[in-house]
Symmetry: C2
Subunit: 810 residues, 2 copies
């Protein structure tokens, strides 16, 4: 493979446009005659709907349509269950508009379309919904209590799913293990909080009989397929475009959010374009959330700190519905073993309904929970045996010669959880150098003398990435010499316009800036899954590579004909196609594309060049026969990974806790990351940077709080803390590359990595900082208030230091 651009820190193709304010987000679309929608949402976490009176709203001037469940006809179907699973015995999905009962604060009840958003919102206030409030399941404790009230009347015990998996013989190991400990660990709800909330613009084109939807989504192709089925339209008469998307983080994978059906429904009904833009308040109460779990974990280890077995039983909060199946708890279960040789493992989870916003994957998707659990275990072993925390990890690592390593579980994609490659000790060794790990105890002790509480913590993770089923790509050289590449995956900041361009540029001998990549437009490329599960770079990138390689081969065959040379003697470089050692026998790639069109049309400079070389044939003729891939320098490529890859990484931080306020500041943060071969190290570092920032939010700041009525108590940025640049430390990133043997480019996937280990290392570092207090961190996010409260509960820290309180392990 030519690798001039692959692996280089190429500047981003997207930046000139975005930095000049030329981004095109859904809300930037302003179509002639466009109407605007607003949603009336349930103020109750659980209530019966007795009656809806929309008559006053209908009379408001400027109101075009008021939809309740009764108006939806055959579209009033529960959304599809995206990923069924045999353990999900009681799946429930949402109606586009609630009919008889609302099940969370924010559930959509009425959809209003008017000439402006102002009028639409005014109309909402004129709608009279008669609710009868019902008892609420506001958390996992209530959900699992005996004889509790039910989120769905027909789902006994609120149990959506239950799944147990066993590896080896944990019961036997526990019975004879030298040390057995157990702990309850809790993860509270958080949310993705993309800068751009959700949004939909739908346009029914009566001439084309074509429905176009611009949606801030991660999965336009599946949405296209679904909308076609729902509205009885041919798939190619529905176009779904994900334009620029201001962050997705999983919360925008969904199909279907109600508004993604209601907005096109309204456009079809009215024959006019309709826009709905989610405001931040709506985002807090209607965009899917994640994270809520409670783990009861038991672990066995020997005197050397070798982990012998784990028994992890956890509850998973799915909110009011299971739109995305049980992917998140499955990932938690499969991710828990991490980089460690865990031969005996019992995993059991129960998925419970609660009267809260439904759960679907959010960046990390169950992994931060798993890593939090396993890294807590590692720390506990170290604490128990008074070993260095990193030494305990080293003693448990899977070794480089043990790959492929079969964890023994069925992964989220239904395939085996088999690690393809890795070198965990190498990563840890790098990190120790970056953190000056060996000198830290001295620094810590010195600081403590000055009344400063410094701690160091490390979190190691293995992340399943690059799952199937497949992606595709189309690559086309145009007469202007530029290459237009398209794929079904979307982009929400992942720099696909750059990294895919690098991959294509290497094949076709051009610069990445001359490759124009289109993502997430079902009209540009109409096959694919979407951008999630850290898969786009690997799966769509491999498809890009395969498509571009086909175009390269077509180009060489055609050039061989044109120049009367052997295909093997044709070179592609610097935008030119030429005969090796005879550079005067040369055309630009664009001119070769003109030659590849059986009815070519040369113009201006290209026409003169072809004429001068006597290559502007006087008569049309087939350029490339069908058996060589048809006309034009274009080709499709599809890539379907045999199973997911497994990236890994280790983060470490030194932080300082202010014991009087509970505030924590980072003094140093370092990460070593292994996602196989790097397409663009600068881009990967950007991904890690963003992930760590989001991880710091999830470790310390961000926690959604609900009261006993299921009312969200901090549903605004006044109350829900997301870290700003001021809270994020300088980040030192380094890489190791253990190429994946699964994909043609050896890459894995880097999208979610940054966020995964942060809560784990944060807990470890805070415990380390406050070690004299014996404080134990058993929850994420920790939150400054919570840490303050915990500090109040322990004895005066000063006294604790002097008494050197021992860990209170059971």
């Amino acid at each position: 493979m030519t690798t001039r651009w692959f692996g280089a820190p190429v500047q981003r193709n997207e930046d000139p446009r975005l930095l000049r304010g030329q981004g095109m987000y859904v809300d930037d679309i302003d179509l002639p005659g466009m109407l605007h929608a607003a949603v009336l949402r349930s103020p109750y976490a659980r209530a019966s709907i007795k009656h809806i009176d929309v008559s006053a709203a209908l009379t408001l001037s400027g109101v075009h349509l008021v939809l309740t469940a009764a108006d939806l006809g055959d579209v009033l179907e529960p959304s599809p269950l995206l990923i069924p699973h045999q353990a999900l015995t009681q799946p429930r999905t949402q109606l586009p508009l609630a009919r008889d009962e609302v099940r969370y604060v924010g559930e959509a009840v009425v959809f209003v379309v008017a000439e402006s958003r102002y009028i639409a919102e005014d109309a909402l206030e004129l709608i009279d919904v008669e609710y009868e409030p019902l008892p609420v399941v506001h958390n996992l404790e209530v959900a699992s209590a005996p004889d509790t009230c039910l989120v769905h009347a027909d789902v006994e015990g609120n149990i959506a799913a239950h799944l147990a998996q066993v590896v080896g013989n944990p019961d036997e190991v526990f019975a004879s293990a030298p040390h057995v400990q157990r702990e309850r660990l809790t993860m509270e709800r958080a949310a993705a909080m993309p800068m751009e909330c959700r949004g939909v613009v739908a346009r029914w084109d009566v001439y084309e009989k074509m429905l176009t939807c611009w949606i801030s989504t991660q999965a336009p192709i599946p949405i296209r397929n679904g909308l076609a089925a729902i509205f009885h339209l041919p798939e190619h008469k529905v176009r779904v475009v994900a334009p620029d998307v201001g962050g997705g983080f999983g919360t925008k994978i969904m199909l279907f959010y109600p508004e993604e059906i209601l907005t096109p429904f309204a456009s079809l009904r009215l024959g006019k374009p309709v826009k709905w833009i989610e405001d931040r308040r709506e985002n807090f109460i209607s965009a899917n959330q994640e994270r809520g779990q409670v783990h009861d974990v038991e672990y066995a280890f020997d005197d050397q700190g070798v982990l012998l077995a784990v028994r992890d039983i956890f509850l998973h909060d799915t909110g009011a519905y299971t739109p995305y199946g049980i992917i998140v708890p499955i990932i938690t279960a499969c991710s828990l073993p991490g980089p460690y040789r865990l031969r005996h493992y019992y995993s059991e989870f129960t998925v419970l309904y609660t009267n809260k916003v439904p759960v679907s994957p959010y960046r990390g998707a169950g992994r931060p929970h798993a890593v939090f659990v396993m890294e807590r275990i590692m720390d506990r072993i170290a604490q128990k045996l008074a070993l260095d925390r990193l030494e305990v990890r080293s003693r448990n690592f899977i070794q480089p010669d043990e790959f492929p390593w079969d964890v023994g579980l069925t992964y989220q994609d239904g395939g085996p959880t088999t690690y393809d490659s890795g070198n965990y000790q190498a990563g840890l060794d790098k990190l120790k150098v970056m953190l000056d790990y060996d000198t830290f105890p001295t620094k810590q002790a010195e600081a403590r003398k000055q009344g400063r509480y410094l701690g160091i913590g490390v979190g190691y993770y293995v992340e399943g990435t690059a799952i199937g089923p497949y992606e595709g790509a189309h690559v086309r050289v145009e007469p202007d010499g530029r290459v237009y590449a398209s794929t079904g995956v979307t982009t929400q900041g992942q720099s696909h316009q750059t990294v895919f361009a690098q991959i294509v540029a290497d094949q076709l001998g051009i610069k990445p800036e001359d490759v124009i990549v289109t993502t997430g437009d079902s009209q540009a490329f109409n096959w694919g899954a979407g951008t999630f599960a850290s898969r786009a770079g690997t799966v769509a990138g491999s498809a890009m590579h395969l498509a571009a390689a086909k175009v390269r081969e077509k180009t060489k065959l055609l050039a061989a004909d044109v120049f009367e040379a052997a295909p093997a003697d044709i070179e592609l470089a610097d935008g030119k196609v030429y005969v090796k050692d005879a550079p005067h026998r040369s055309l630009t790639l664009g001119q070769m594309a003109i030659k590849a069109n059986p009815l070519r049309y040369a113009y201006g400079e290209n026409a003169r060049k072809l004429a001068a070389m006597n290559l502007a044939d006087a008569r049309p003729g087939p350029a490339l026969p069908a058996e060589r891939g048809g006309p034009g320098l274009e080709a499709e490529g599809f890539y379907s990974p045999p199973h997911g890859s497994f990236a890994s990484g280790v983060h470490g931080a030194i932080l300082e806790v202010d014991p009087t306020t509970g505030m924590v500041s980072f003094l140093k943060y370092a990460a070593v990351h292994d996602c196989g071969r790097l397409i663009n190290p600068m881009v990967v570092e950007g991904q890690i940077h963003g992930g760590i920032a989001q991880g710091i939010g999830g470790a310390f700041f961000e926690r959604l709080v609900f009261d006993e009525e299921g009312q969200p108590l901090n549903a605004s940025f006044m109350d829900y803390l997301i870290p700003t640049a001021a809270e994020i430390p300088a980040l030192a990133i380094d890489h190791i590359e253990t190429p994946s043997p699964l994909s043609p480019l050896g890459v894995k996937g880097a999208g979610e990595a940054g966020v995964i280990p942060v809560a784990a290392l944060f807990a470890s570092a805070v415990e380390d900082a406050l070690a004299p207090s014996g404080l134990r961190i058993r929850e994420m996010p920790l939150h400054p208030c919570k840490l303050y409260e915990m500090l109040q509960e322990v004895q005066s820290l000063e006294r604790a230091v002097s008494q050197q309180i021992q860990p209170d392990d059971k």
Copy 2:
């Protein structure tokens, strides 16, 4: 091949829509904010432009843009020469707007865009163009006169092209032939006169950076490629759609008519949609025309009536420009030999510029001229030797065992003129029966006794069809069970939505009504040439067949997986895919399409069926691997014929001439047609019907008349006669089928056939009716007025009958 539908007279898929008025022609498009254009055209056939003052037009309220040549920037380039030829030594093409000189009445000078067509036309009247009239070349005689004025100052003798071809040794044969005769034959200009004139709607979409043009054209893909080059846009950012087109007949193949550049130019400039619709007056003076030739033909034959040699030297009127090269006269030269064994042939033509509308192919495209010449020769031989006219033809036919027959000339596509198959005598035998030929002399004699002048005439032709370079097609099965097929060719009444559907339906075991065919939309299929040269059915039809066959194979492979059966045991019939002899192992074709989507989305009935058969996989997975053609039941096919096919046919008619008025009425009309295998005999008959009607116009009614100043004298339907239903007789059509060995389906092409021999048989029949007068027909169209004048010139017909005037052959 399965042939349930192939060959059957399937009802047209297009009819329910068109008969209900749901057609969508360019002028039906009404976009929000659309502006309207009108063109100021030259009132002179030749003049210098001294000055253009548009200031008054610009101040008219509602005018948005006034364009002269000076405003076009780098778009002010002569249109491309579509088909260069080495004999075309002085090609000239037109600027979008005339700059220094106008060269025909109707040439575009100023383009005005306003809020309505009314305002735009008012603005035209405010524009002051100062012309200096120049001497005019109004016909071939003037064009070829020594020291005449020049249409293009730098083209000496007005000679655009000159080409001579020789087969065998005609000089030698002429020197020793028993009989040599010569004659001058003239063909006057006519025009296609489609019911729908030309039209363009252009929309520049600022969000998509996409230019969409709806054009009433026969070649949207080449126009797309050209507009992309002209406006420096990527090809995939220009979409050209030929929606419903109300007749093309060749006159809509062009690229570029000025308005096809100016309308998108205006839309790009203004950022608004712009519509230009040609009115009938404009169509008469700015849509390309054809037919004008003068032949001096010399022919040698023996005593048995066997044609020994032909020497044909002709002038071809190309009008003011050569946008389409010299295709028309080349076709004339190649078509002249017809079904006859012509071993010695000298053909020479000179293409001359005149100050008239440019010439490009019009249905028949040079062939009616050739057939007129050759069939006049056959009649003259019969007259000279007092042989039956058909017997002379029979004595000269190429025999069925002589195929492939090499005519010895280079055809319009640059390939050999090689007839692939035919059975000319069989066609003539059928026609004789249909006309009751053998009993006609008795009827004719009886009628003559009653003062009625009946004549019989026959015209035989061979028509080159199905030229390359290629066409392609895409076939896609959708979950609704319908199949969506698309191709780059356009349709203007050829029933492609039906015949392509038949071809696809046979492969996929469904009904033709469940195949939705899209033609002429560069976004639906972006490769191809267009619909002309009687090629779409064969070339695009073969591509359809190949694409559908691929989908059939993909379906069988997938079904074999799904049902765990051998691919060879899978059947496709009645919309179902099932295992042979196990019909319960069955899915609909639509359900199989859902299975072929790696991220399938089943809904409603389909979901229930798949679930019931345990085929609604719980997890997504690749359906068909890339090496089996990628996901989905879809495939592309491309077909490139090795060279053109040659259809043939013979028409005959019995007509009656009213000697007092010169009016002619048809008593009987019969045609035997051989276009290889018939996809749909009803559709082929419809094509023949329309062609004959148009041929009758071209034989008798339609003639464009210009005065010495190059002013058209009959540029309206008040003066230019096109036949109505009243003038068209009942038509009896029969077929013979000599399958083409060149294409996978054995079809040839039928689009132009009907029109080709009509003028020839008309001349023959009129001469026969008026045989006693010795009248000789040497021109087409004859026109009622002209026949009346000719009848005045001969002696009183009554007297002529009594004197039995002999033919005045030289």
